[in-house]
């Protein structure tokens, strides 16, 4: 499935200029700072924003640019930041609103209600729902309209950590479970790391880069968007063993074993680990007598000193995966690091971001 979007519209502080082909598959994150035009792109795709400078083509069918296909004919689900549930209807009637107007599709109500965990809410009024419940209902309503594509506009922005952690795995599973690709707008990197399969990075009205999530998180431009504190990489692996006595779980990332605190997930579960650059230490020899459990041999692929700070960003190739490290210029000099040199990357087990593990129950 492919979605081609062209936009050239003036905005308050900048010009929104987009010419992008979204390869809509799985979850695509549209990521960038607030107010850079992300929402406008979703609105154009959904048909809520007209304008001479807009063109949308879905799988060869023109939606916009020339003739305008109205939003109610596009079958694009839209989950709004404020959910936009109908306050004159209860939860069940909100869902029925979508069902009545849906055409085709094979998404089943029971499946949706169970997956999103909203069965107990069906009889409730919309005003009695919490923020997280609203977004679950909104997602369910959207799915029941049998959409070809779901657009989600920062649906978790107003939620607390707990509610977020409950919903993120659901979002990640939507494409697999219901066969609906998702374009997910966010300015939060932890959300990107958890839900996205691919990322389109935005800055001031333009998409500056796009690609698979793991590769995108390593891009230098990412750091200018996220702040250096959050910079890091993503490793994908499977749970290979548990050590119940030590409360440890071993994760296999393409043949490289990682050790992390115990996770209640069966062997074989696919995992996504996020490692922050600031949690990675480098050594030129394999250290001995050290508490760090993950010591991985690799090669420096990229070494970038940051201007006017004490730090360099180092990207290390571990073979099946990459990790980023953030070390001082002084360390680079004293260890004689350069691109191509062999190093050991040290990652403490506790530094794995457990929140960033979709689909896994946590203890």
């Amino acid at each position: 499935m492919a979605l081609s979007v062209r936009i050239d519209l003036p905005r308050k502080d900048f010009r929104l200029r987009i010419d992008h082909m979204f390869s809509v598959k799985g979850v695509t994150a549209l990521f960038g700072p607030s107010g850079c035009g992300k929402t406008s792109i979703l609105r154009v795709i959904a048909g809520l924003e007209k304008g001479a400078g807009t063109e949308v083509i879905w799988n060869g069918t023109p939606w916009q640019g020339g003739a305008m296909m109205p939003p109610h004919h596009r079958r694009v689900g839209y989950v709004f930041q404020d959910a936009q549930l109908f306050s004159h209807l209860n939860v069940d009637a909100n869902l029925r609103f979508a069902e009545k107007r849906a055409t085709g599709g094979d998404i089943q109500r029971d499946d949706v209600v169970v997956t999103l965990g909203i069965r107990h809410l069906l009889g409730r009024g919309v005003a009695d729902l919490s923020g997280g419940e609203r977004q679950r209902v909104s997602m369910a309503r959207s799915l029941l309209s049998q959409p070809k594509l779901m657009l989600m506009d920062e649906p978790l922005a107003a939620l607390d950590h707990r509610a977020k952690a409950g919903i993120l795995p659901l979002i990640q599973s939507l494409p697999r479970r219901f066969g609906v690709p998702v374009i997910y707008v966010t300015h939060a990197l932890d959300e990107v790391a958890q839900v996205a399969d691919s990322v389109a990075m935005m800055k001031l009205g333009e998409i500056i880069d796009a690609g698979p999530v793991a590769a995108m998180l390593e891009r230098p431009e990412m750091q200018s968007l996220t702040g250096r504190f959050e910079a890091g990489s993503i490793l994908e692996g499977t749970v290979s063993a548990h050590d119940m006595a030590m409360h440890l779980t071993q994760v296999d990332v393409g043949g490289v074993p990682f050790e992390m605190p115990f996770l209640d997930a069966p062997v074989g579960t696919l995992l996504r680990l996020r490692v922050r650059a600031r949690d990675v230490t480098l050594a030129t020899e394999r250290p001995k007598g050290i508490s760090t459990r993950n010591i991985l041999k690799g090669t420096i692929m990229r070494l970038m000193p940051e201007a006017e700070t004490a730090f360099s960003e180092v990207l290390i190739d571990l073979g099946p995966a990459h990790v980023q490290a953030r070390v001082t210029h002084a360390a680079v000099r004293d260890l004689g690091l350069s691109e191509g040199s062999d190093v050991f990357a040290l990652i403490k087990s506790v530094s794995f971001d457990r929140r960033a593990l979709p689909g896994v129950k946590q203890r």
Binding site: A46, Y78, F86, H88, N90, S145
Partner: protein, 224 residues
């Protein structure tokens, strides 16, 4: 007391017909005013609000001129229906619609504005056409506006005097509404009858308003 209640019934009939006509005519106007970004909007808003500030005599005078068989509008109506618009019930309805227009349009407009674009856009992405969106989302959400507009238009028309006197005169059974009857009673020093009709109007208007304010406060609008 052998009160002549015919003027009361006539007033109620006029108020009901006028209000229903206003529902049909005022809704699209209010909707347009609430949604448009056109530059003509303030102009139309001002025109809609004119009956609030004009003396009924001025309004009635112009209506009399427009509705009279000698004018284009009145003449056309006469040649098509064989009826005159002045000094007739139909003429009163037309005049009352103009006179009570702001009482229907303004509550509706602010109700539609209160609904906002959000729910309508959500409905659109769920496959609802514009007409569908209006009836299934905007209207129920604007229900309070409808109730307010209906009651204000109805009671305002019920209490109408100056415009009716100018356009309809005082023809028993056709244009002699309750306010005109009261005026006539006072002029002829029939204070008992005037008291009686005034009390009926006062009581009725108060009861309707009380009912609406109570309902509006107690029951959150909800249609399932």
């Amino acid at each position: 007391m052998n009160a002549d209640l015919a003027p009361l019934w006539l007033s109620l009939r006029l108020a009901l017909v006028t209000t229903l006509a206003l529902l049909v005519l005022g809704t699209p106007l209010a909707w347009w005013l609430a949604m448009t970004k056109s530059r003509v909007k303030p102009f139309l808003e001002a025109v809609t609000a004119l009956p609030l500030v004009l003396p009924p005599t001025v309004l009635g005078f112009y209506l009399l001129i427009v509705l009279s068989p000698n004018s284009a509008v009145g003449g056309l109506f006469l040649s098509v229906t064989g009826q005159s618009l002045t000094f007739s019930f139909t003429g009163l309805v037309v005049a009352s619609v103009v006179y009570s227009l702001p009482f229907m349009v303004q509550p509706l407009q602010s109700a539609f504005e209160g609904v906002g674009r959000g729910p309508l856009e959500a409905a659109a992405t769920l496959g609802a056409s514009p007409i569908d969106r209006f009836f299934s989302v905007a209207s129920p959400l604007a229900l309070r506006g409808y109730i307010t507009g209906f009651v204000l238009s109805f009671t305002h028309t019920l209490g109408e005097f100056g415009v009716i006197l100018m356009v309809g005169g005082n023809i028993p059974g056709r244009t002699k509404v309750i306010s005109i009857a009261i005026y006539e009673n006072v002029e002829t020093l029939d204070y008992a009858q005037a008291h009686w009709l005034s009390a009926v109007l006062l009581g009725f208007s108060f009861a309707v308003l009380l009912l609406v304010f109570t309902v509006n406060r107690r029951i959150p609008v909800k249609v399932i």
